[in-house]
Symmetry: C2
Subunit: 340 residues, 2 copies
């Protein structure tokens, strides 16, 4: 009962055959006698033989594994994108290994080291908030393992393959939608100000204002690093002027909208009912809220994940030159919610 794993050697001994004959039988080599094949396959099935992946990898010098590093699994954005990656990876004969960085640079470096040791055939990474040094990721490319950056744009790292959501377009659409509904005072609540991947959204907002002749008002823009206290401060700032507060709001993440509504409700803000909000996410929980956002910016994370795998597989197969840096942009949709 406390047996060792089933190996070719074991089957060979049992059947008084050589290891190579067993191997060939299982792979249906033409020059093996049918009856032998049958005997081998039968025993292999009965013993639940599974080839040792480590041995296969060692021999083939490829793992058929795609490594994935992302900040966390709490955000539905990432779990949804994993779904897309899993689908397309499986369809292409690859397995995936997921590592969480918890948005911490050290952990990202550790995860990279482990995946490098696993000799993954390719890497997909959504960099942590803290990442500005890319040595731990560059080493993959140095030894010929392709890397695709997704979602979080490593703007300091120009020469790389990217699959990004079109957050500029998403923010533009959201802002314009609110303007078209008659709002003149559309606020923007952004993510960490320093972080490069928040610029695109802000410029989408700004451009939509400009194209619709709405003057920019600095009091209608605030930023948060997602720390709760920090978020609250940002929200309070946006609504500090009772005379001239925003009537609509575009946010980096839907959670920021929920925080905003909660705050306004807690102070019984008189304009709460009229405030119209849109954020990135499209969380299914919206169906249950009594003051839901009027719409959501749907980033299509599954599609983003699929595109990342598709690009990575082409790079692995050499269909695209490693130096021919690609930038894939996945558009957002504006999902209008039914008002109850």
């Amino acid at each position: 009962m406390e047996n060792k794993p089933v190996t070719l050697k074991l089957i060979a001994k049992e059947l008084k055959l050589s290891i190579s004959t067993v191997s060939k039988s299982l792979k249906d080599y033409p020059r093996i006698k049918e009856s032998t094949k049958l005997r081998v396959k039968e025993l292999a099935a009965r013993l639940n033989f599974t080839p040792d992946i480590s041995a296969l990898r060692l021999r083939d010098r490829k793992s058929r594994i795609i490594g994935i590093i992302l900040p966390n699994l709490s955000d539905h954005f990432f779990t949804r994108s994993i779904y897309g990656m899993e689908q397309l990876a499986t369809a292409n004969g690859y397995n995936i290994i997921i590592s969480q960085s918890h948005d911490n640079f050290e952990m990202e470096v550790n995860a990279a080291a482990t995946l490098l040791g696993s000799r993954v055939d390719g890497l997909i990474v959504a960099i942590s908030k803290q990442t500005s040094d890319f040595a731990h990721l560059d080493q993959f490319e140095k030894i010929g393992i392709p890397v695709v950056y997704y979602t979080r744009n490593p703007s300091f790292n120009l020469n790389c393959h990217k699959v990004l959501g079109n957050t500029h377009q998403g923010c533009y659409m959201a802002t314009e939608y609110l303007i078209n509904r008659g709002h003149k005072k559309v606020a923007y609540l952004g993510g960490p100000k320093m972080v490069n991947f928040s610029h695109d959204r802000f410029s989408g907002y700004i451009n939509a204002l400009k194209d619709n002749d709405i003057p920019f008002n600095a009091n209608h823009v605030a930023y948060t690093d997602f720390d709760d206290a920090n978020t609250l401060t940002a929200i309070k700032n946006l609504f500090s002027d009772p005379e001239n507060g925003p009537t609509a709001l575009v946010a980096f993440k839907e959670k920021l909208l929920f925080d905003t509504i909660k705050f306004l409700r807690s102070i019984a803000h008189p304009e709460l009912k009229k405030l119209e909000c849109i954020g990135f996410g499209n969380d299914p929980i919206i169906a249950y809220l009594s003051s839901p956002p009027i719409a959501s910016i749907e980033e299509n994370p599954e599609s983003l994940g699929e595109q990342a795998v598709a690009l990575l597989v082409k790079l692995i197969h050499g269909d695209i030159d490693a130096k021919d840096y690609k930038k894939v942009i996945v558009n957002c949709n504006l999902k209008i919610h039914q008002t109850a």
Copy 2:
């Protein structure tokens, strides 16, 4: 640039040393000259040498990997339990590989095969809703790889190691809490009726009623398999009698409560404001709801995950005999929400 991965052989050739000397230098064998060690380590660091994990595994015949099969990553319960597993696994020098079954038996079997091929040192599994045949999991134990079942109780499989949340106690506490708040008509909205892992909750509910001299009312119990239409039917049944509808509700999952509240709001149910609800979950989103559950049954998924890894590691190390089947129960907490 398009180099192959860095191996000991490469370093040996570069330094005109033997492979074994390089290996020993990196592992600080005492009988290697200090200067040699330094030269080796320096070059290894410069080339970002990482030992090939497949080769190590092949040699050591152990992978230092814990395989995890769970239904999905959309449920915060599972991502939270992964967090606990990750922590304790890392602390014990293990890596984890996560596979999703999407609550589908076929996919669970496939995942098991892959993990078996990876020669994981142990397996933690939350079985799919559909799983009643355990051959694909038993084969691990047959070859000496321990398996720990967690969260979802495989009641058809008596001889196995389990780490379970005390859902009976959780449901009991919730029901009793509602009774103590004066409710006489406490309903129960359960998960799939056939599935073994939903019995404990129901019996917790029943026992709390009995211990508090509340008569059982069959009209106050409904089940759903989580299909949306099915859930809606269950909810409608619970509230079909306008005279004698429940004033409180305990649910298998918080999402069911959200669905209930949404439905009651949609029909402008007059008793909605008075209805008090509790479900399993403690989703942070509750802070944002205008009709939040009065409390949540917190299953402590991180702790459940840690316990599963702790037990598995003991089994792997042989600190516990494989046949000495353990059942670890993690209690629930009742988390009372602040009423706004």
